[in-house]
Symmetry: C2
Subunit: 112 residues, 2 copies
């Protein structure tokens, strides 16, 4: 297990529930999707996600997932990603599953 | 939204899938449960969770949820908690839902 951290380190993260509105293939990276995500803000965000080998478009579109909402934007092969989707993977990475709230909730709901 | 953080701040957190093995009422705090959680380690952890007004014992026992696994231990009204369960809440906190992997996965699976 990793080094222990104080609760204040956890609080730096802004984790939010988001609803995946659209799923497109990344034009230049065959393992990446470009998601449009409603995080409860006026404008949906573009978030690049490495889920293309694990989920179809249909399996993601309309679903709720959990996102890190306050990461510095990063350029991923020409697409600016404004956040990161959270997913669990087992040791051999044979299973990769996104995280979701136990029941549907308003997009933008904060994780504590 | 919160201040932007670099990816390295996210990496400090060790988020894991855990299976809730047992649920008990906290002896001194009526909003808290004391959970015994399998995080894929040899010994299950004791983790205090503020879900008592939101979920029954039966609704939690046996379920998978997401935990911060590397927080410094904290003493919560006499019980040492060795981690934290993640939950989403809407603005008025009328809804509080724990997070889970989209499908069942090995306890201890890491969140990326």
């Amino acid at each position: 297990m990793s080094e222990k951290i104080p609760f204040t380190d956890f609080q730096k993260l802004d984790l939010r529930v988001g609803t995946i509105l659209e799923v497109e293939n990344h034009p230049k990276a065959d393992k990446l999707y470009v998601l449009k995500v409603d995080l409860g803000e006026p404008i949906a965000r573009i978030i690049v996600a490495g889920l293309r080998t694990h989920y179809t478009h249909e399996a993601l579109k309309g679903k709720q997932a959990i996102f890190v909402a306050n990461l510095e934007p990063v350029n991923l092969r020409g697409v600016e990603s404004n956040g990161m989707i959270l997913a669990a993977s087992n040791e051999g990475k044979s299973k990769v599953f996104f995280l979701k709230p136990e029941k549907q909730i308003e997009p933008g709901s904060k994780i504590h």
